[in-house]
Protein backbone atom coordinates (compact mmCIF):
# COMPACT_ATOMS: atom_id res chain seq x y z
CA UNK A 1 0.00 0.00 0.00
CA UNK A 2 1.35 3.36 -1.00
CA UNK A 3 1.78 6.27 1.37
CA UNK A 4 -1.14 8.65 1.67
CA UNK A 5 -0.54 11.95 -0.13
CA UNK A 6 -0.91 14.07 2.94
CA UNK A 7 -1.22 13.23 6.62
CA UNK A 8 -2.13 16.19 8.80
CA UNK A 9 -1.86 15.35 12.47
CA UNK A 10 -2.95 17.70 15.24
CA UNK A 11 -1.92 20.77 13.27
CA UNK A 12 -2.20 23.95 15.35
CA UNK A 13 -1.17 27.56 15.23
CA UNK A 14 -1.43 30.05 18.03
CA UNK A 15 -1.50 33.75 17.10
CA UNK A 16 -0.85 35.19 20.55
CA UNK A 17 -3.62 33.26 22.27
CA UNK A 18 -5.93 32.96 19.25
CA UNK A 19 -5.89 29.45 17.83
CA UNK A 20 -6.78 29.90 14.15
CA UNK A 21 -6.19 26.21 13.55
CA UNK A 22 -6.54 24.02 16.60
CA UNK A 23 -5.54 20.37 16.48
CA UNK A 24 -6.71 19.74 12.92
CA UNK A 25 -6.15 16.22 11.57
CA UNK A 26 -7.03 14.48 8.36
CA UNK A 27 -5.58 11.97 5.91
CA UNK A 28 -5.74 12.61 2.17
CA UNK A 29 -5.13 9.64 -0.09
CA UNK A 30 -3.03 9.62 -3.20
CA UNK A 31 -5.09 10.84 -6.16
CA UNK A 32 -7.97 12.04 -4.01
CA UNK A 33 -9.90 15.25 -4.61
CA UNK A 34 -10.84 16.73 -1.25
CA UNK A 35 -13.03 19.78 -0.77
CA UNK A 36 -12.62 21.79 2.41
CA UNK A 37 -15.68 23.76 3.44
CA UNK A 38 -16.30 26.00 6.41
CA UNK A 39 -17.86 29.29 7.41
CA UNK A 40 -15.77 32.46 7.31
CA UNK A 41 -13.00 32.38 9.89
CA UNK A 42 -13.03 28.60 10.15
CA UNK A 43 -9.27 28.55 9.51
CA UNK A 44 -9.27 27.11 5.98
CA UNK A 45 -6.77 29.53 4.47
CA UNK A 46 -4.61 29.44 7.61
CA UNK A 47 -4.55 25.65 7.34
CA UNK A 48 -3.24 25.99 3.77
CA UNK A 49 -0.64 28.50 4.97
CA UNK A 50 0.52 25.97 7.55
CA UNK A 51 0.77 23.11 5.06
CA UNK A 52 2.71 25.19 2.51
CA UNK A 53 5.17 26.67 5.01
CA UNK A 54 3.82 30.20 4.67
CA UNK A 55 2.97 30.27 8.37
CA UNK A 56 4.88 28.35 11.03
CA UNK A 57 2.86 25.78 12.92
CA UNK A 58 3.09 25.84 16.72
CA UNK A 59 2.00 22.23 17.02
CA UNK A 60 1.32 19.07 15.04
CA UNK A 61 2.89 17.64 11.91
CA UNK A 62 2.33 17.55 8.16
CA UNK A 63 3.64 14.53 6.27
CA UNK A 64 3.60 14.31 2.48
CA UNK A 65 4.17 10.88 0.95
CA UNK A 66 5.91 9.78 4.12
CA UNK A 67 8.20 12.82 4.29
CA UNK A 68 7.85 15.27 7.17
CA UNK A 69 7.43 18.78 5.76
CA UNK A 70 6.26 20.56 8.92
CA UNK A 71 7.67 24.09 9.04
CA UNK A 72 10.02 23.61 6.13
CA UNK A 73 10.55 26.67 3.91
CA UNK A 74 8.08 27.35 1.11
CA UNK A 75 10.51 26.44 -1.66
CA UNK A 76 11.53 23.16 0.01
CA UNK A 77 7.90 22.14 0.36
CA UNK A 78 7.22 23.15 -3.25
CA UNK A 79 10.20 21.07 -4.41
CA UNK A 80 8.88 18.12 -2.42
CA UNK A 81 5.86 18.25 -4.74
CA UNK A 82 3.29 20.61 -3.33
CA UNK A 83 1.75 23.44 -5.37
CA UNK A 84 -0.64 26.14 -4.25
CA UNK A 85 -3.08 28.47 -5.91
CA UNK A 86 -3.93 31.59 -3.96
CA UNK A 87 -7.30 33.15 -3.37
CA UNK A 88 -6.21 36.33 -5.15
CA UNK A 89 -4.62 35.23 -8.43
CA UNK A 90 -0.90 35.28 -7.97
CA UNK A 91 0.95 35.38 -11.29
CA UNK A 92 3.97 37.30 -12.58
CA UNK A 93 2.15 40.34 -13.90
CA UNK A 94 5.01 41.94 -15.85
CA UNK A 95 5.93 38.72 -17.62
CA UNK A 96 4.02 37.34 -20.59
CA UNK A 97 1.75 34.35 -20.16
CA UNK A 98 4.33 32.20 -21.88
CA UNK A 99 7.12 33.44 -19.62
CA UNK A 100 4.96 32.65 -16.59
CA UNK A 101 4.66 29.07 -17.82
CA UNK A 102 8.36 28.99 -18.65
CA UNK A 103 9.25 29.85 -15.04
CA UNK A 104 6.77 27.32 -13.68
CA UNK A 105 8.00 24.46 -15.87
CA UNK A 106 11.59 24.84 -14.63
CA UNK A 107 12.44 21.71 -12.68
CA UNK A 108 16.05 22.60 -11.97
CA UNK A 109 15.62 25.31 -9.34
CA UNK A 110 19.20 26.49 -8.67
CA UNK A 111 20.66 29.70 -10.10
CA UNK A 112 23.63 28.18 -11.92
CA UNK A 113 21.69 25.34 -13.50
CA UNK A 114 19.47 27.96 -15.08
CA UNK A 115 22.19 29.91 -16.87
CA UNK A 116 20.87 28.52 -20.13
CA UNK A 117 18.77 29.70 -23.06
CA UNK A 118 15.54 28.49 -24.63
CA UNK A 119 13.25 25.61 -23.85
CA UNK A 120 14.14 21.95 -23.80
CA UNK A 121 12.05 19.72 -26.04
CA UNK A 122 10.29 18.03 -23.12
CA UNK A 123 9.49 21.40 -21.55
CA UNK A 124 8.07 22.64 -24.84
CA UNK A 125 5.91 19.57 -25.23
CA UNK A 126 4.61 19.88 -21.69
CA UNK A 127 3.79 23.57 -22.15
CA UNK A 128 1.93 22.89 -25.39
CA UNK A 129 -0.37 20.51 -23.53
CA UNK A 130 -0.96 22.98 -20.72
CA UNK A 131 -1.69 25.84 -23.11
CA UNK A 132 -4.21 23.54 -24.79
CA UNK A 133 -5.85 22.56 -21.49
CA UNK A 134 -6.06 26.09 -20.10
CA UNK A 135 -6.94 27.57 -23.52
CA UNK A 136 -4.41 30.36 -23.09
CA UNK A 137 -3.06 30.11 -26.65
CA UNK A 138 -4.75 33.34 -27.74
CA UNK A 139 -3.18 35.41 -24.99
CA UNK A 140 0.18 33.66 -24.83
CA UNK A 141 2.23 36.80 -25.59
CA UNK A 142 0.19 39.15 -23.42
CA UNK A 143 1.51 40.45 -20.13
CA UNK A 144 -0.17 38.44 -17.38
CA UNK A 145 -1.26 41.68 -15.70
CA UNK A 146 -3.43 42.49 -18.72
CA UNK A 147 -5.47 39.28 -18.53
CA UNK A 148 -9.08 39.08 -17.39
CA UNK A 149 -9.70 37.75 -13.91
CA UNK A 150 -10.74 34.34 -15.20
CA UNK A 151 -7.79 34.01 -17.55
CA UNK A 152 -5.46 34.91 -14.72
CA UNK A 153 -6.93 32.11 -12.59
CA UNK A 154 -6.44 29.62 -15.42
CA UNK A 155 -2.91 30.83 -15.95
CA UNK A 156 -2.17 30.17 -12.30
CA UNK A 157 -3.77 26.73 -12.55
CA UNK A 158 -1.68 26.05 -15.64
CA UNK A 159 1.45 27.04 -13.75
CA UNK A 160 0.65 24.52 -11.03
CA UNK A 161 0.26 21.84 -13.68
CA UNK A 162 3.56 22.86 -15.28
CA UNK A 163 5.18 22.62 -11.88
CA UNK A 164 4.09 18.94 -11.84
CA UNK A 165 3.10 19.07 -8.20
CA UNK A 166 1.82 15.78 -6.90
CA UNK A 167 -0.37 17.60 -4.41
CA UNK A 168 -2.20 20.79 -5.39
CA UNK A 169 -3.94 23.14 -2.95
CA UNK A 170 -6.53 25.42 -4.51
CA UNK A 171 -7.83 28.32 -2.46
CA UNK A 172 -11.22 29.41 -3.84
CA UNK A 173 -10.35 28.81 -7.49
CA UNK A 174 -13.69 30.21 -8.70
CA UNK A 175 -13.81 33.36 -6.56
CA UNK A 176 -15.08 36.26 -8.65
CA UNK A 177 -15.74 34.11 -11.73
CA UNK A 178 -18.79 34.21 -13.97
CA UNK A 179 -20.89 31.06 -14.29
CA UNK A 180 -19.27 30.18 -17.60
CA UNK A 181 -15.80 30.69 -16.20
CA UNK A 182 -16.66 28.59 -13.15
CA UNK A 183 -17.79 25.78 -15.42
CA UNK A 184 -14.52 25.94 -17.40
CA UNK A 185 -12.58 25.82 -14.15
CA UNK A 186 -14.46 22.73 -12.99
CA UNK A 187 -13.57 21.10 -16.32
CA UNK A 188 -9.89 21.88 -15.82
CA UNK A 189 -9.98 20.52 -12.28
CA UNK A 190 -11.82 17.38 -13.38
CA UNK A 191 -9.14 16.87 -16.03
CA UNK A 192 -6.52 16.90 -13.26
CA UNK A 193 -8.31 14.33 -11.11
CA UNK A 194 -6.38 11.11 -10.77
CA UNK A 195 -3.10 12.65 -11.99
CA UNK A 196 -2.76 14.91 -8.98
CA UNK A 197 -4.00 14.87 -5.44
CA UNK A 198 -6.13 17.99 -5.10
CA UNK A 199 -7.40 19.91 -2.08
CA UNK A 200 -9.90 22.65 -2.81
CA UNK A 201 -11.18 25.32 -0.44
CA UNK A 202 -14.42 26.60 -1.87
CA UNK A 203 -17.72 28.30 -0.98
CA UNK A 204 -19.57 27.96 -4.27
CA UNK A 205 -21.80 24.93 -3.68
CA UNK A 206 -22.75 24.50 -7.35
CA UNK A 207 -19.05 24.22 -8.11
CA UNK A 208 -18.46 21.88 -5.16
CA UNK A 209 -21.22 19.53 -6.40
CA UNK A 210 -19.55 19.58 -9.81
CA UNK A 211 -16.17 18.36 -8.54
CA UNK A 212 -16.51 16.98 -5.01
CA UNK A 213 -15.80 13.45 -3.92
CA UNK A 214 -15.07 13.74 -0.24
CA UNK A 215 -15.67 16.83 1.86
CA UNK A 216 -14.08 18.05 5.07
CA UNK A 217 -15.93 20.73 7.03
CA UNK A 218 -13.89 23.00 9.28
CA UNK A 219 -15.24 25.14 12.08
CA UNK A 220 -13.33 27.31 14.58
CA UNK A 221 -10.03 25.80 13.52
CA UNK A 222 -11.18 22.20 14.09
CA UNK A 223 -12.46 19.44 11.91
CA UNK A 224 -16.24 19.32 12.22
CA UNK A 225 -17.28 16.59 9.82
CA UNK A 226 -15.89 14.53 6.98
CA UNK A 227 -17.65 12.44 4.36
CA UNK A 228 -19.57 12.44 1.09
CA UNK A 229 -21.69 15.36 -0.07
CA UNK A 230 -25.13 14.02 1.03
CA UNK A 231 -23.90 12.92 4.43
CA UNK A 232 -22.37 16.34 5.05
CA UNK A 233 -25.47 18.24 3.97
CA UNK A 234 -27.61 16.27 6.38
CA UNK A 235 -25.19 16.43 9.30
CA UNK A 236 -26.84 18.38 12.16
CA UNK A 237 -23.44 19.66 13.44
CA UNK A 238 -22.72 21.16 10.06
CA UNK A 239 -26.17 22.73 9.87
CA UNK A 240 -25.59 24.26 13.34
CA UNK A 241 -22.21 25.70 12.36
CA UNK A 242 -23.65 27.29 9.27
CA UNK A 243 -26.81 28.57 11.03
CA UNK A 244 -25.38 32.02 11.56
CA UNK A 245 -24.45 32.34 7.93
CA UNK A 246 -27.70 30.89 6.60
CA UNK A 247 -26.75 27.25 6.10
CA UNK A 248 -25.02 25.59 3.19
CA UNK A 249 -26.38 26.77 -0.09
Amino acid sequence: MSNPALVIDGLSVDFGGFKAVDGFSTVIDDGELRVVLGPNGAGKTTMMDLITGNTRATGGTVTMYGKDITNHTEHEIARAGLGRKFQIPSVFRDLTVFENFEVAVTKQRGVFGNLRFGLRADEKQQLDQIIELTQTGDVIDKRAGELSHGQMQWLELGMLIAQESRVILLDEPTAGMTQGETYRTSQIINALKGKHTIIVVEHDMAFVREIAEKITVMHLGKMLAEGRMEAIENDPKVQDAYLGSGGIH
Binding site: D94, T96, V111, N114, E146
Partner: protein, 398 residues
Protein backbone atom coordinates in the same frame (compact mmCIF):
# COMPACT_ATOMS: atom_id res chain seq x y z
CA UNK B 1 0.63 61.13 -22.37
CA UNK B 2 1.16 57.95 -24.28
CA UNK B 3 -0.15 54.75 -22.82
CA UNK B 4 2.55 52.11 -22.49
CA UNK B 5 0.24 49.15 -22.51
CA UNK B 6 -1.48 49.35 -25.85
CA UNK B 7 -4.27 46.97 -24.86
CA UNK B 8 -6.83 48.11 -27.39
CA UNK B 9 -4.55 48.29 -30.38
CA UNK B 10 -2.82 44.99 -29.73
CA UNK B 11 -5.96 43.05 -29.08
CA UNK B 12 -3.66 40.68 -27.24
CA UNK B 13 -2.86 38.61 -30.28
CA UNK B 14 -0.12 40.67 -31.78
CA UNK B 15 3.22 40.63 -30.17
CA UNK B 16 4.86 43.98 -29.66
CA UNK B 17 7.62 44.56 -32.17
CA UNK B 18 9.81 45.91 -29.36
CA UNK B 19 9.62 42.47 -27.72
CA UNK B 20 11.37 40.97 -30.70
CA UNK B 21 14.95 39.85 -30.06
CA UNK B 22 16.00 41.36 -33.41
CA UNK B 23 15.08 44.85 -32.24
CA UNK B 24 17.32 44.36 -29.23
CA UNK B 25 20.19 43.07 -31.34
CA UNK B 26 19.80 46.11 -33.58
CA UNK B 27 19.68 48.58 -30.68
CA UNK B 28 22.68 47.11 -28.85
CA UNK B 29 24.60 46.73 -32.10
CA UNK B 30 24.01 50.35 -33.06
CA UNK B 31 25.07 51.62 -29.66
CA UNK B 32 28.23 49.52 -29.58
CA UNK B 33 29.12 50.52 -33.13
CA UNK B 34 28.59 54.18 -32.19
CA UNK B 35 30.91 54.13 -29.20
CA UNK B 36 33.54 52.14 -31.08
CA UNK B 37 33.49 54.49 -34.07
CA UNK B 38 33.38 57.69 -32.02
CA UNK B 39 37.17 58.29 -32.03
CA UNK B 40 37.03 58.51 -35.85
CA UNK B 41 34.90 61.64 -35.67
CA UNK B 42 36.07 63.07 -32.35
CA UNK B 43 39.77 63.81 -32.36
CA UNK B 44 39.84 66.12 -29.34
CA UNK B 45 41.61 63.97 -26.72
CA UNK B 46 40.14 66.06 -23.91
CA UNK B 47 36.57 65.28 -24.98
CA UNK B 48 37.41 61.69 -25.80
CA UNK B 49 38.67 61.24 -22.25
CA UNK B 50 35.52 62.88 -20.94
CA UNK B 51 33.31 60.58 -22.96
CA UNK B 52 35.34 57.61 -21.71
CA UNK B 53 34.42 58.59 -18.15
CA UNK B 54 30.78 58.88 -19.14
CA UNK B 55 30.94 55.41 -20.67
CA UNK B 56 32.10 54.24 -17.24
CA UNK B 57 29.01 55.90 -15.77
CA UNK B 58 27.02 54.11 -18.46
CA UNK B 59 28.37 50.86 -17.04
CA UNK B 60 27.10 51.95 -13.64
CA UNK B 61 23.72 52.49 -15.29
CA UNK B 62 23.83 48.85 -16.41
CA UNK B 63 24.63 47.74 -12.84
CA UNK B 64 21.70 49.76 -11.46
CA UNK B 65 19.27 48.52 -14.11
CA UNK B 66 20.26 44.94 -13.36
CA UNK B 67 19.54 45.23 -9.65
CA UNK B 68 16.73 47.80 -9.69
CA UNK B 69 14.97 47.02 -12.95
CA UNK B 70 15.42 43.27 -13.18
CA UNK B 71 15.66 42.25 -9.54
CA UNK B 72 13.55 45.02 -8.03
CA UNK B 73 16.31 45.79 -5.53
CA UNK B 74 16.90 49.51 -5.14
CA UNK B 75 20.52 49.82 -4.08
CA UNK B 76 21.19 53.39 -2.96
CA UNK B 77 24.76 52.49 -2.08
CA UNK B 78 26.15 51.30 -5.41
CA UNK B 79 28.90 53.90 -4.88
CA UNK B 80 30.31 51.59 -2.22
CA UNK B 81 31.27 49.00 -4.82
CA UNK B 82 32.34 51.61 -7.35
CA UNK B 83 34.49 53.25 -4.70
CA UNK B 84 36.09 50.00 -3.58
CA UNK B 85 36.85 49.07 -7.18
CA UNK B 86 38.38 52.49 -7.72
CA UNK B 87 40.54 52.43 -4.60
CA UNK B 88 41.85 48.92 -5.23
CA UNK B 89 43.34 49.78 -8.61
CA UNK B 90 44.29 53.29 -7.47
CA UNK B 91 46.47 51.76 -4.75
CA UNK B 92 48.38 49.82 -7.39
CA UNK B 93 48.69 52.81 -9.69
CA UNK B 94 49.76 55.02 -6.78
CA UNK B 95 52.67 52.68 -6.10
CA UNK B 96 53.59 52.86 -9.80
CA UNK B 97 53.62 56.64 -9.69
CA UNK B 98 56.95 58.39 -10.14
CA UNK B 99 56.67 60.20 -6.79
CA UNK B 100 56.17 56.95 -4.89
CA UNK B 101 59.61 55.83 -6.05
CA UNK B 102 61.26 59.02 -4.86
CA UNK B 103 60.63 58.76 -1.15
CA UNK B 104 64.16 57.68 -0.33
CA UNK B 105 63.51 53.96 -0.32
CA UNK B 106 64.21 51.04 -2.64
CA UNK B 107 60.56 50.09 -2.67
CA UNK B 108 57.71 52.44 -3.62
CA UNK B 109 56.01 54.33 -0.81
CA UNK B 110 53.06 56.69 -1.31
CA UNK B 111 54.06 60.29 -0.59
CA UNK B 112 51.21 60.97 1.83
CA UNK B 113 52.34 58.14 4.10
CA UNK B 114 55.55 60.02 4.69
CA UNK B 115 53.62 63.11 5.76
CA UNK B 116 51.57 61.01 8.16
CA UNK B 117 54.41 58.87 9.51
CA UNK B 118 55.85 59.15 13.02
CA UNK B 119 59.33 60.68 13.04
CA UNK B 120 61.90 57.95 12.57
CA UNK B 121 59.52 55.39 11.14
CA UNK B 122 61.17 53.20 8.50
CA UNK B 123 60.40 54.31 4.94
CA UNK B 124 58.93 51.02 3.86
CA UNK B 125 55.41 49.77 3.19
CA UNK B 126 55.82 47.17 5.91
CA UNK B 127 55.64 49.62 8.77
CA UNK B 128 55.82 53.27 7.79
CA UNK B 129 52.35 53.83 9.28
CA UNK B 130 50.26 51.30 11.22
CA UNK B 131 48.58 48.93 8.79
CA UNK B 132 50.52 50.08 5.75
CA UNK B 133 51.57 46.45 5.12
CA UNK B 134 48.15 46.03 3.56
CA UNK B 135 49.51 48.01 0.61
CA UNK B 136 52.32 45.55 -0.07
CA UNK B 137 50.60 43.17 -2.49
CA UNK B 138 49.37 46.18 -4.48
CA UNK B 139 52.89 46.63 -5.82
CA UNK B 140 51.70 44.22 -8.49
CA UNK B 141 49.34 46.04 -10.82
CA UNK B 142 47.37 42.92 -11.62
CA UNK B 143 46.65 42.47 -7.93
CA UNK B 144 44.91 45.84 -7.67
CA UNK B 145 42.98 45.19 -10.85
CA UNK B 146 41.77 41.77 -9.75
CA UNK B 147 40.87 43.07 -6.29
CA UNK B 148 38.75 45.80 -7.94
CA UNK B 149 36.26 43.11 -8.81
CA UNK B 150 36.91 40.48 -6.13
CA UNK B 151 36.51 42.72 -3.07
CA UNK B 152 33.14 44.14 -4.24
CA UNK B 153 32.01 40.59 -5.03
CA UNK B 154 32.95 39.26 -1.59
CA UNK B 155 31.46 42.21 0.30
CA UNK B 156 28.27 42.28 -1.75
CA UNK B 157 27.86 38.53 -1.38
CA UNK B 158 28.08 38.71 2.42
CA UNK B 159 25.85 41.79 2.54
CA UNK B 160 23.24 40.38 0.16
CA UNK B 161 23.17 37.03 1.96
CA UNK B 162 22.46 38.79 5.25
CA UNK B 163 19.79 41.05 3.72
CA UNK B 164 17.93 38.61 1.51
CA UNK B 165 18.04 35.55 3.78
CA UNK B 166 16.20 37.70 6.32
CA UNK B 167 13.74 38.61 3.55
CA UNK B 168 14.40 42.30 3.89
CA UNK B 169 12.92 44.01 0.86
CA UNK B 170 11.84 47.26 -0.74
CA UNK B 171 12.69 50.54 0.93
CA UNK B 172 14.56 48.81 3.78
CA UNK B 173 17.19 47.53 1.37
CA UNK B 174 17.57 51.09 0.08
CA UNK B 175 18.05 52.40 3.63
CA UNK B 176 20.57 49.71 4.58
CA UNK B 177 22.69 50.22 1.46
CA UNK B 178 22.50 53.99 1.84
CA UNK B 179 23.69 53.78 5.45
CA UNK B 180 26.50 51.40 4.50
CA UNK B 181 27.98 53.60 1.82
CA UNK B 182 28.03 56.53 4.26
CA UNK B 183 29.68 54.37 6.89
CA UNK B 184 32.31 53.18 4.43
CA UNK B 185 33.00 56.77 3.39
CA UNK B 186 33.48 57.76 7.02
CA UNK B 187 35.91 54.89 7.66
CA UNK B 188 37.82 55.72 4.50
CA UNK B 189 38.29 59.35 5.50
CA UNK B 190 39.10 58.39 9.06
CA UNK B 191 41.92 56.08 7.96
CA UNK B 192 43.87 59.09 6.67
CA UNK B 193 47.39 57.62 7.12
CA UNK B 194 46.43 54.70 4.91
CA UNK B 195 44.05 56.31 2.44
CA UNK B 196 45.03 59.99 2.39
CA UNK B 197 41.56 60.73 3.80
CA UNK B 198 39.58 63.52 2.16
CA UNK B 199 42.19 64.11 -0.50
CA UNK B 200 41.92 60.63 -1.92
CA UNK B 201 44.60 59.00 -4.04
CA UNK B 202 45.99 61.37 -6.63
CA UNK B 203 49.12 61.62 -8.72
CA UNK B 204 48.71 58.08 -9.98
CA UNK B 205 50.81 56.21 -12.50
CA UNK B 206 49.37 54.98 -15.76
CA UNK B 207 48.00 51.56 -16.44
CA UNK B 208 50.84 49.58 -17.97
CA UNK B 209 50.19 46.39 -19.87
CA UNK B 210 53.05 44.50 -21.54
CA UNK B 211 55.26 47.56 -21.42
CA UNK B 212 52.64 49.82 -23.02
CA UNK B 213 51.58 52.77 -20.91
CA UNK B 214 47.95 53.80 -21.24
CA UNK B 215 47.93 57.58 -21.00
CA UNK B 216 44.30 58.47 -20.18
CA UNK B 217 44.21 60.81 -23.17
CA UNK B 218 45.20 58.14 -25.67
CA UNK B 219 42.62 56.74 -28.03
CA UNK B 220 43.78 53.29 -26.93
CA UNK B 221 42.65 54.05 -23.37
CA UNK B 222 39.28 55.13 -24.70
CA UNK B 223 39.07 51.79 -26.48
CA UNK B 224 39.83 49.82 -23.31
CA UNK B 225 36.77 51.42 -21.75
CA UNK B 226 34.51 51.31 -24.81
CA UNK B 227 35.26 47.63 -25.40
CA UNK B 228 34.80 46.84 -21.70
CA UNK B 229 31.41 48.55 -21.71
CA UNK B 230 30.38 46.67 -24.85
CA UNK B 231 31.36 43.35 -23.32
CA UNK B 232 29.59 44.13 -20.03
CA UNK B 233 26.46 45.23 -21.90
CA UNK B 234 26.33 42.09 -24.02
CA UNK B 235 27.08 39.72 -21.14
CA UNK B 236 24.54 41.40 -18.86
CA UNK B 237 21.93 41.31 -21.62
CA UNK B 238 22.61 37.63 -22.24
CA UNK B 239 22.43 36.94 -18.52
CA UNK B 240 18.98 38.51 -18.32
CA UNK B 241 17.76 36.36 -21.21
CA UNK B 242 18.75 33.10 -19.54
CA UNK B 243 16.17 31.12 -17.64
CA UNK B 244 17.79 32.39 -14.44
CA UNK B 245 17.21 35.97 -15.62
CA UNK B 246 13.56 35.18 -16.22
CA UNK B 247 13.21 33.58 -12.80
CA UNK B 248 14.86 36.64 -11.27
CA UNK B 249 12.21 38.85 -12.88
CA UNK B 250 9.55 36.54 -11.53
CA UNK B 251 10.89 37.04 -8.00
CA UNK B 252 10.61 40.80 -8.56
CA UNK B 253 6.97 40.52 -9.66
CA UNK B 254 5.78 38.14 -6.97
CA UNK B 255 8.39 36.58 -4.67
CA UNK B 256 5.76 34.51 -2.89
CA UNK B 257 4.66 32.87 -6.12
CA UNK B 258 8.29 32.12 -7.01
CA UNK B 259 8.80 30.47 -3.63
CA UNK B 260 5.71 28.32 -4.08
CA UNK B 261 7.05 27.25 -7.45
CA UNK B 262 10.10 25.93 -5.62
CA UNK B 263 12.63 28.72 -6.15
CA UNK B 264 14.90 29.91 -3.40
CA UNK B 265 14.24 33.62 -4.00
CA UNK B 266 17.14 34.79 -1.84
CA UNK B 267 19.64 32.78 -3.91
CA UNK B 268 18.58 34.62 -7.07
CA UNK B 269 18.65 37.99 -5.37
CA UNK B 270 22.11 37.35 -3.91
CA UNK B 271 23.47 36.21 -7.27
CA UNK B 272 22.26 39.21 -9.24
CA UNK B 273 23.08 41.71 -6.49
CA UNK B 274 26.62 40.34 -6.54
CA UNK B 275 26.86 40.53 -10.34
CA UNK B 276 25.67 44.12 -10.14
CA UNK B 277 28.35 44.90 -7.53
CA UNK B 278 31.02 43.23 -9.67
CA UNK B 279 30.07 45.48 -12.60
CA UNK B 280 30.19 48.54 -10.33
CA UNK B 281 33.63 47.52 -9.04
CA UNK B 282 34.88 46.99 -12.58
CA UNK B 283 33.50 50.43 -13.50
CA UNK B 284 35.38 51.92 -10.55
CA UNK B 285 38.61 50.41 -11.85
CA UNK B 286 38.07 51.80 -15.36
CA UNK B 287 37.19 55.22 -13.96
CA UNK B 288 40.53 55.46 -12.18
CA UNK B 289 42.35 54.51 -15.37
CA UNK B 290 40.61 57.35 -17.20
CA UNK B 291 40.46 59.95 -14.43
CA UNK B 292 43.76 59.31 -12.62
CA UNK B 293 42.38 59.69 -9.11
CA UNK B 294 40.24 57.94 -6.51
CA UNK B 295 38.44 59.97 -3.90
CA UNK B 296 35.96 59.52 -1.04
CA UNK B 297 33.51 61.54 -3.16
CA UNK B 298 32.86 58.24 -5.00
CA UNK B 299 31.07 57.18 -1.84
CA UNK B 300 29.13 60.42 -1.48
CA UNK B 301 25.43 59.93 -1.15
CA UNK B 302 24.75 62.30 -4.04
CA UNK B 303 26.83 60.15 -6.38
CA UNK B 304 24.98 56.93 -5.55
CA UNK B 305 21.65 58.70 -5.92
CA UNK B 306 22.77 60.24 -9.22
CA UNK B 307 23.31 56.72 -10.57
CA UNK B 308 19.72 55.86 -9.73
CA UNK B 309 18.54 59.05 -11.46
CA UNK B 310 20.51 58.16 -14.63
CA UNK B 311 18.94 54.71 -14.69
CA UNK B 312 15.46 56.08 -14.06
CA UNK B 313 15.78 58.63 -16.86
CA UNK B 314 17.22 56.10 -19.28
CA UNK B 315 14.78 53.39 -18.27
CA UNK B 316 15.53 51.10 -15.40
CA UNK B 317 13.95 48.09 -17.09
CA UNK B 318 16.41 48.33 -19.93
CA UNK B 319 20.15 47.79 -19.50
CA UNK B 320 20.90 49.77 -22.64
CA UNK B 321 18.41 52.49 -21.70
CA UNK B 322 19.97 53.00 -18.29
CA UNK B 323 23.43 53.04 -19.88
CA UNK B 324 22.43 55.69 -22.42
CA UNK B 325 20.62 57.67 -19.70
CA UNK B 326 23.86 57.87 -17.71
CA UNK B 327 25.93 58.96 -20.71
CA UNK B 328 23.34 61.50 -21.84
CA UNK B 329 22.82 63.19 -18.48
CA UNK B 330 26.55 63.46 -17.89
CA UNK B 331 27.20 64.87 -21.35
CA UNK B 332 24.48 67.47 -20.89
CA UNK B 333 25.80 68.20 -17.42
CA UNK B 334 29.28 68.81 -18.77
CA UNK B 335 27.94 71.23 -21.36
CA UNK B 336 25.69 72.92 -18.83
CA UNK B 337 28.50 73.46 -16.35
CA UNK B 338 30.30 75.55 -18.93
CA UNK B 339 27.41 77.98 -18.99
CA UNK B 340 27.55 80.12 -15.87
CA UNK B 341 23.80 80.43 -15.54
CA UNK B 342 23.24 76.68 -15.66
CA UNK B 343 26.19 75.84 -13.46
CA UNK B 344 24.29 76.61 -10.27
CA UNK B 345 20.87 75.49 -11.35
CA UNK B 346 21.95 72.23 -12.98
CA UNK B 347 21.24 70.04 -9.95
CA UNK B 348 17.76 71.48 -9.69
CA UNK B 349 17.20 70.77 -13.38
CA UNK B 350 18.31 67.16 -13.00
CA UNK B 351 16.00 66.83 -10.00
CA UNK B 352 13.13 68.20 -12.06
CA UNK B 353 13.87 65.82 -14.94
CA UNK B 354 13.88 62.94 -12.45
CA UNK B 355 10.50 63.91 -10.99
CA UNK B 356 8.98 64.31 -14.45
CA UNK B 357 10.33 60.96 -15.61
CA UNK B 358 9.08 59.16 -12.52
CA UNK B 359 5.63 60.72 -12.93
CA UNK B 360 5.15 60.54 -16.68
CA UNK B 361 7.72 58.15 -18.14
CA UNK B 362 8.04 55.21 -15.76
CA UNK B 363 9.99 53.33 -18.41
CA UNK B 364 12.25 56.27 -19.17
CA UNK B 365 13.85 56.97 -22.54
CA UNK B 366 13.89 53.26 -23.31
CA UNK B 367 10.10 53.32 -22.96
CA UNK B 368 9.85 56.09 -25.56
CA UNK B 369 12.09 54.09 -27.87
CA UNK B 370 9.97 50.96 -27.44
CA UNK B 371 6.77 52.94 -28.08
CA UNK B 372 8.29 54.30 -31.27
CA UNK B 373 9.34 50.84 -32.45
CA UNK B 374 5.88 49.44 -31.70
CA UNK B 375 4.27 52.33 -33.59
CA UNK B 376 6.46 51.61 -36.61
CA UNK B 377 5.64 47.91 -36.25
CA UNK B 378 1.92 48.60 -36.30
CA UNK B 379 2.17 51.00 -39.25
CA UNK B 380 4.23 48.55 -41.24
CA UNK B 381 2.28 45.52 -40.07
CA UNK B 382 5.36 43.80 -38.70
CA UNK B 383 5.30 42.10 -35.36
CA UNK B 384 7.93 40.35 -33.34
CA UNK B 385 8.63 36.66 -33.33
CA UNK B 386 7.15 35.42 -30.16
CA UNK B 387 9.14 33.54 -27.55
CA UNK B 388 6.46 30.92 -27.58
CA UNK B 389 7.28 30.21 -31.21
CA UNK B 390 3.71 30.91 -32.24
CA UNK B 391 3.22 33.08 -35.28
CA UNK B 392 1.63 36.38 -34.46
CA UNK B 393 -1.11 37.46 -36.78
CA UNK B 394 -1.75 41.21 -36.94
CA UNK B 395 -4.93 40.97 -39.01
CA UNK B 396 -6.54 38.69 -36.46
CA UNK B 397 -6.60 41.57 -34.00
CA UNK B 398 -9.05 43.62 -36.04
Amino acid sequence: MASFHSKTVDGGLVMRLSDSPYVDVFAYGTFIAAILLLPLVMDDPFWLNRIAKYLVFGMLGVAIALSWGYAGILNLGQGLFFGIGAYMVAMSLKLQSFTSLQQGSDTPVPDFMLWNAQPGAPTDLCCIVPGSWIWQPFQAQWFGMVMSVIVPVVISYILATAIFRLRVSGVYVAIITLALVLLARLLLIDAQPLTNGFNGLTDLGWLTVAGIEFDPYLTATYYIIAVSLSVVLILARLLTSTRAGLILQSTRDDPKRSRFLGFDVAAYQVFFFTVSAAIAGFAGMLYVIAAEFASPSFMDLTFSISMVVWAAVGGRNSLLGACIGAILINTIEASASETELLQESWRAIVGLIFVLVVLYLPRGLAGIGQEAVDWIGRKAGISGRSRSGRASNPSAAE
